[in-house]
C-alpha cells in the first residue's frame, strides 16, 4: 500500500494533530500507547479489547501513504509509539536510525510468527530486529468480469499479458484502465514481465521497464493510488493494477451495493510483487514498554486473525490461521497456494540516486515530459 487519497491524507493529519493534542492533556500516570496505522486497516474492537485487558489507553491515528508517514518520521518527534511502514520504506528508515531494536524478551508471542513471511521480511529488516509483520499482500490486477469478457472472450486474466501487451490492453481502453501512481510497485512488475530482475537498480533495465509502460500508456486513463477502489466498484473502470486488499475491498463494495458489477482479482502466473506492512517502534517513543505490550497483543493468534477477517489481508502469523474465516483462509488471492507463493517476489528499497532515476522515468511515463 503506497498511496491513498489526498483527502484522506489531509483528514488523517487533522485527526492526528487533534489526537496528539488530546493525548497531551491526559494525566501523566495514565498508561497509553500512540499508534499510527493505515486508514481502514483494523477492527476497532481490537483496540477496545486491548485497553480492557491491559488498562493501556490507545491513541489511534491513521495515515494513508508511506510517503506521509516517512516524512513525519524523518522530521522527528512524531510522538508515536507504534508505526506501520511498508518493507522498502522500513528498510530505509532503519538506515536513517528512525527505529529502536525490539526487546524480544517482552514479545513472547513472536513464536507464533510465520517463518515464510519473516524470512522474506528479513530483506528489509535483517534478523527481524526492528519490526513484526502486521499484514501482507500482493500488487496485481483487478478487473470487471463482464466488461472484460464482453470485449475479449479469451482474455488472459491469469497473466500480466492482460496489462502489459499493448494490443490486449487497447481492447479495454474504452472502459477505463487505472494504474497505481507508484513507480516502486509498477516498474518491478514490468521488469518481471520482461524477465529481468524485478529488483534491478541498473538504469538500462529501468529504462526498458519504462519503455514498456510507455508502449501501453495511451490505453491508461489515470495513474492514481486509491481512486480505483471506488471506480472499480462503481463500474467506472474495467481494469486496475492495484493492491490485493484494495481490489478485494472494491469487490465486496460492489456486492454490497448490488449494482451488478462483478469484480475479480487476478494473481498473474508470471508472479507479482509482495508487500509487507511492518509494526515498528520509533527511537524517540515515550511509551516503549506499552508499545511492546501492544505488539505482543497484536501477535496473539486470535487477535490478528480478527484483524485479517476484518480487512481481508493475510497476516504473518502462522498460529492465527486456525482462527481465520474460511472465506479468508481459502481465498487464493489472499492466501496464495504454495506454488504461487514461490513466484511472488520482493523488492528492496532504492538508494537516493536510483530513486531519483525511477521517479524521473515514472514522471516521463505519466506526463510524457
Amino acid at each position: 500500500m503506497t498511496g491513498h487519497h489526498i483527502a484522506r491524507r489531509i483528514l488523517a493529519t487533522g485527526i492526528a494533530v487533534a489526537a496528539v493534542a488530546i493525548g497531551h492533556a491526559a494525566l501523566a500516570k495514565d498508561r497509553e500507547v500512540r499508534v499510527f496505522n493505515w486508514s481502514d486497516y483494523i477492527d476497532e474492537s481490537i483496540l477496545e479489547d486491548f485497553t480492557k485487558e491491559t488498562g493501556i489507553k490507545v491513541v489511534y491515528d491513521v495515515f494513508d501513504s508511506n510517503e506521509v508517514l516517512e516524512t513525519k518520521l524523518l522530521a522527528g518527534g512524531t510522538g508515536y509509539d507504534v508505526v506501520v511502514p511498508t518493507g522498502p520504506f522500513l528498510s530505509r528508515q532503519i538506515g536513517a536510525k528512525v527505529f529502536q531494536k525490539l526487546d524480544k524478551s517482552k514479545l513472547p508471542n513472536i513464536s507464533n510468527m510465520w517463518s515464510d513471511i519473516s524470512e522474506r521480511v528479513a530483506i528489509y529488516d535483517p534478523g527481524n530486529e526492528y519490526s513484526v509483520n502486521y499484514m501482507w499482500g500482493t500488487t496485481a490486477i483487478g478487473y470487471n468480469e463482464a466488461k472484460i469478457k464482453e470485449r475479449m472472450p479469451d482474455a488472459p486474466v491469469d497473466s500480466w499479458d492482460l496489462f502489459f501487451k499493448p494490443e490486449v490492453l487497447a481492447k479495454f481502453k474504452d472502459c477505463g484502465v487505472h494504474v497505481l501512481d507508484a513507480a516502486d510497485d509498477i516498474l518491478p512488475a514490468a521488469l518481471n514481465y520482461l524477465k529481468l530482475d524485478p529488483n534491478s537498480k541498473n538504469p538500462e533495465d529501468l529504462q526498458k521497464a519504462a519503455a514498456l509502460m510507455e508502449s501501453i500508456r495511451p490505453n491508461i486513463l489515470k495513474f492514481h493510488s486509491s481512486e480505483y477502489i471506488n471506480a472499480l466498484a462503481n463500474g467506472d473502470i474495467c481494469l486496475a493494477v492495484g493492491y490485493s486488499g484494495d481490489i478485494l475491498q472494491a469487490k465486496s463494495r460492489a456486492e454490497e451495493a448490488k449494482n451488478g458489477q462483478v469484480i475479480a482479482f487476478g494473481l498473474p502466473k508470471e508472479g507479482a510483487q509482495m508487500w509487507f506492512d511492518q509494526m515498528a517502534i520509533p527511537a524517540d517513543s515515550k511509551h516503549v514498554a506499552e508499545a511492546h505490550e501492544f505488539l505482543n497483543y497484536m501477535m496473539k493468534p486470535e487477535v490478528i486473525a480478527k484483524a485479517s477477517n476484518y480487512v481481508s489481508y493475510a497476516n504473518g502469523n502462522k498460529a492465527s490461521q486456525e482462527f481465520l474465516d474460511e472465506t479468508i483462509k481459502n481465498n487464493p488471492s489472499i492466501y496464495p497456494s504454495e506454488e504461487t507463493m514461490k513466484r511472488l517476489f520482493v523488492k528492496t528499497s532504492y538508494d537516493a540516486k536510483t530513486q531519483r532515476t525511477v521517479t524521473r522515468l515514472w514522471t516521463k511515463v505519466i506526463t510524457g515530459k
Binding site: I6, V68, L74, K222, N234, A352, G368, K369
Partner: protein, 296 residues
C-alpha cells in the same frame, strides 16, 4: 512611540511568518540529500562553535538549482502551471465580473444577502466541494446524465481527469476571491458618474468602457492576483480533477518531497516558485503606488 508600533507590526509579522521560514527553506535548498533525521546534510550544530559554523557554510552550494535548470521537467512544470493559472484567472474574471456588477447594481438592502450567498460555499470544506465536482464531471456523473437526457449529446463527455476539469475546479473554487474585490471597487463608483456620461450622449456600452471599467481596474488587479497566485501552486485541484498528464508545479514539488524524499531539491523548487510569483506581486505594488500618486 505608538506610531512606531503601527509601522513595526507588519514588519514583525513579515519577518516572523515570511522571512524566517523562507530562510529556513532557502538554507535546506543549499544542502544535500542524506539518509538521516532530518534527511539532509549539513545540519548546523552550534555546540561546535565558530569552526562548525564555518564548515557548515562551506558545505552549502547551489547544485540543486543548477539541477532544476538543467532538467526541462521543472521549466515545463513552472510554465504549464503559470499557463493554467493564467487561463483560469481570465475565465474567473469573465464569470465574476457580471456577478459583481449585478451585485453592485442591486438594491442596497439586497446586497448583504447577495454577499452572503457568495461567501456561503466556504462553509463547506473545500475538499468536499472538489469531491462533489468529481461526482458531477465523471462519465456517469450528473452533468453527462443531464446532457444525455436533454438529448444534447449521445456519448458521455470525458471531462474528469482532463485540464478542462482543472479549469472548472479553479474557477469554481476561487470565484469568491475574484467577486469580492471586484464588488468592492464597483460598488464605490457613483451612479452620478454614469448619469453624467449619459447626459453627455454616451451610449451605455461606451459609458461602461470609459467610466465603469477603468474605475474597477484596482478590483480587477486585486482579484486576478488573489486567484492567480494560489492557483499557480495549486495541488489538490490538479491531483483530484486533473489527468495524470496534468503537469503542475505543486504536483512536481509533492513528488520531489514525498517520492524522492529530496528535501533539498524540493526546497529549491519552492524557492524558484516564490521568485516566479514575486514578479506579479511587485508589478501590482508598483501599479497601486502609481495610482495612489496619480490620485493625489
Amino acid at each position: 512611540m505608538r506610531r512606531w508600533y503601527v509601522i513595526g507590526a507588519p514588519y514583525i509579522w513579515l519577518l516572523l511568518f515570511f522571512l524566517v521560514p523562507f530562510f529556513i527553506v532557502f538554507k535546506i535548498s543549499l544542502s544535500d540529500i542524506a539518509t538521516a533525521i532530518p534527511p539532509y546534510t549539513p545540519t548546523l550544530d552550534l555546540s561546535g562553535g565558530w569552526e562548525a559554523i564555518k564548515t557548515f557554510f562551506s558545505e552549502l552550494d547551489f547544485e540543486n538549482y543548477s539541477f532544476i535548470v538543467n532538467d526541462p521537467l521543472y521549466v515545463d512544470a513552472y510554465w504549464s502551471s503559470v499557463r493554467i493559472a493564467a487561463i483560469a484567472t481570465l475565465i474567473t474574471l469573465l464569470v465574476a465580473y457580471p456577478i459583481a456588477y449585478g451585485m453592485a447594481r442591486a438594491p442596497k438592502d439586497w446586497q448583504p444577502t447577495l454577499m452572503m450567498l457568495v461567501i456561503l460555499p466556504f462553509w463547506t470544506s473545500f475538499l468536499i466541494r472538489v469531491y462533489a465536482w468529481m461526482g458531477i464531471l465523471k462519465k456517469e456523473g450528473l452533468l453527462n446524465l443531464f446532457l444525455m437526457n436533454m438529448g444534447l449529446i449521445s456519448e458521455p463527455l470525458t471531462i474528469l481527469n482532463t485540464n478542462t476539469a482543472v479549469y472548472i475546479g479553479i474557477v469554481y473554487s476561487y470565484l469568491p476571491f475574484m467577486i469580492l474585490p471586484l464588488y468592492s471597487s464597483l460598488e464605490k463608483i457613483k451612479p452620478s458618474l454614469l448619469e453624467a456620461a449619459e447626459d453627455l450622449g454616451s451610449p451605455p456600452w461606451k459609458a461602461f468602457w470609459q467610466v465603469t471599467f477603468p474605475l474597477s481596474l484596482p478590483g480587477i488587479f486585486a482579484g486576478c492576483l488573489l486567484v492567480f497566485i494560489p492557483a499557480v501552486g495549486e495541488f489538490v485541484i490538479p491531483d483530484l480533477l486533473g489527468g495524470s498528464d496534468t503537469l503542475m508545479i505543486g504536483k512536481t514539488l509533492w513528488s520531489e518531497f514525498f517520492n524522492n524524499r529530496d528535501w533539498p531539491v524540493s526546497s529549491a523548487v519552492a524557492v524558484v516558485l516564490l521568485i516566479v510569483l514575486i514578479l506579479p506581486i511587485v508589478l501590482f505594488q508598483r501599479m497601486q503606488q502609481n495610482q495612489a500618486e496619480a490620485g493625489r
